[in-house]
Subunit: 424 residues, 2 copies
């Protein structure tokens, strides 16, 4: 039953039916928040052993001889830098450990560009008409960082291969374009992993601005959900070959490996950028929280430990992604009212409803007790030009709650479509 | 035996004797680092119960209903905000909890001024010839923050009452003066607590710059070492009365209450500034490490718990301050080669040696295995105009090590004085 081909009468009848179903949902008085990619309580329990992994009996002296209970060690524990290096596919010597938030490290790095500039260029704060490329749909918090610092946000369409590289290569000819946000693996929200070709083209980018930087947020680098995970080409190695390593900042964190908010973040970059960043950190802080680093190290032990932990997350998350995908397939397939992703990892499923319907769907769901990410949030300035994209975050609710929420969601998608088609 | 009144012959003889003593010290091959105010291993053990205060059996749900294991809660736990409010003498509603470093919060606040400005003024980054007042001797890391951001550092002499307020009041008539660094209680390094009159005059300051800010780093607010502690007047209340609350940022941390580097920082400010800061934090991070906040809360419990913890620190630290003061008194009193503070709290003892001798003393100590804070570090740009001030940090070494270090220090002070007097 393709909604777009139904007669007006049939569409009216369908709409009535959907309205009834919707009303019966409202009476259930659901109260679910699916607005953000939050791990579930069950996932949080996976890291409980970490809570007491550092205790009075622990060895507090790092392999470098430093006392993890006291000040110092700005780069972080070498063992943890090594784990992050393996996660991120970079050299351990170029990894700097941060606090509890990789977003904060990205913010600080943009802030560093604003006040001090990169590659000897004038600070960004002194350059007029700065622009930043935002592959969209994308991560709202990335976009907000550059919006906060006064960049003009330039939308770059996402393709199944990653950001539209023709458009990126064209855009960077403009010297006022200073960077691009990337979530290269299981992108938020599309779930797409950048193709080898996209990674290669990014490594070989020739931006007019010497202080152009790729912000490579590998937030979901180990967050696979199937036996045939996506494989992301290694930008670090590609850039080393191309001689463009100084044009990238690499980020990752354990926020969705251990505890969101009480995890560890890390960044990596080429030697020149590192010198700038280290110089800044030496002024900014006396050092990161090494007890939390030690907690992570004693709990995760090594990269194999990270993978073992992620397998446990997968066991809890993968069934939820299946619920969403099965429900979408069952309720919406063939109706021509939505397209959606079937990602092999990450935290989101991206749904494109009929143009002009996303806000309505989100409102319908909210009015029946299910809060979704605000429509438009995945685009610069929170404005989806097509009002079409909706980010579904299936990890937090229980499977039962998720079943219900998706049932409601599918009704809302169809109802909004029927309303739209009848009005046009 | 006043060195300055000795005959050349007697001074020569004294110098020879000191050189012999110094050489015998060198043969001891000491290896002590007293460069920074670091808590000792024994102090760190006081917080061991905190390591497991949060464990799988804990209640993770805050009084507001938020899950401390997950994202969110940018202001921090209300109970912890209350404890900080009592420590800092401010309103709990105006406290924001940060990460593990109050220095980082200060850096971020200056950085906020640089890119976004305060009180609707042009961002500091766009204003030429910015200046910042640095009461000296003072805290080197404060000075370095404003140096990093391109402020001209203006030395304000410290008096026994705090910063020379005549000079401060004169300086702020210049609209390019944007702020002042203050450690109001047991100042680093002088140990001085600002007098009531100084606090009152700061509250009533009339800076020409609307975006002038007092950075009030109450790092040692509960760090008393005697039964008759200094009492700091409450700037928050004074400013409220004077209608100048928006001109101050208040800071504190638990770095020297629990674990340095794994503590909790906090800031407080008036409603207008708070709006700016909260808006920034909403972009900068998804929230602070609430598990570490919970750890602190379950360990310290309340303000009385903080005081009880500080009594234990005092029991370990106070004897070390006595060792330093007794040694200085015994070896240097009446010789007219040094003046020093006898602070009632904090982390430092400040010694003023003969002008032109501080660097020499620090080098003599280093060459015999005792590393002190670099001479000059307590002044803007690391340059003490008199080359006279030395910061002694007695907390880290054991009492036995400290005895030896101070013995060496007193020899070095006299030797440098003898050299100096003979050369002039």
């Amino acid at each position: 039953m393709d909604f777009t081909k139904l007669s007006k009468e049939n569409l009216e009848r369908e709409k009535k039916k959907l309205e009834e179903e919707y009303r019966s949902f409202q009476s259930k008085k659901l109260n679910l928040n699916m607005a953000r990619g939050k791990p579930s309580p069950e996932q949080l329990k996976l890291s409980y052993p970490m809570l007491t992994a550092v205790n009075p009996e622990s060895n507090f002296i790092s392999s470098t001889g430093a006392d993890c209970r006291n000040y110092g060690m700005p780069d972080g524990l070498p063992e943890l830098r090594r784990i992050f290096a393996q996660m991120m596919g970079v050299d351990a010597d170029n990894v700097v450990i941060g606090g509890n938030s990789s977003l904060n490290m990205m913010f600080d790095t943009v802030s560093c560009g604003m006040t001090h500039g990169f590659s000897g260029c004038e600070p960004w704060g002194c350059q007029k008409g700065r622009k930043f490329l935002c592959p969209s749909p994308g991560y709202d918090r990335h976009f907000r960082v550059t919006e906060y610092f006064g960049f003009q946000l330039v939308t770059i369409p996402m393709t199944p291969e990653g950001p539209d590289m023709d458009k990126v290569e064209e855009a960077v000819k403009d010297p006022s374009v200073k960077g691009i946000w990337c979530v290269p693996k299981y992108q938020n929200p599309t779930g797409i992993t950048f193709s080898d070709e996209t990674v290669r083209r990014l490594a070989h980018l020739k931006p007019a601005a010497k202080d152009f930087r790729i912000f490579w947020d590998n937030a979901y680098c180990v967050h696979d959900l199937t036996d045939t995970p996506d494989c992301l080409a290694n930008l670090w190695e590609e850039c080393k070959k191309a001689g463009t390593l100084e044009s990238v900042f690499f980020f990752a964190s354990t926020s969705k490996i251990t505890f969101p908010g009480a995890g560890i973040s890390a960044m990596a970059c080429g030697d020149e950028n590192l010198k700038e960043i280290r110089g800044r950190y030496a002024v900014q802080t006396i050092g990161p929280d090494k007890l939390n680093q030690l907690r992570h190290l004693y709990f995760l032990k090594n990269f194999d430990g990270v993978k073992a932990q992620m397998a446990k997350h997968r066991a809890l998350i993968a069934p939820k992604f299946q619920i969403v995908e099965l429900k979408l397939e069952k309720e919406l397939a063939g109706k021509n009212v939505a397209k959606w992703s079937n990602p092999k990892g990450g935290y989101f499923i991206s749904v494109d409803v009929l143009p002009g319907c996303a806000k309505r769907v989100v409102k319908l769901c909210a009015d029946a007790g299910v809060k979704l990410t605000a429509a438009g949030a995945t685009f610069p300035y929170g404005k989806d030009p097509d009002d079409s994209n909706i980010r579904v975050a299936p990890t937090y609710p229980s499977p039962e709650e998720l079943e219900q929420a998706m049932e409601l969601f599918c009704i809302a998608v169809q109802l909004a479509a029927a309303e739209k088609l009848l009005a046009s």
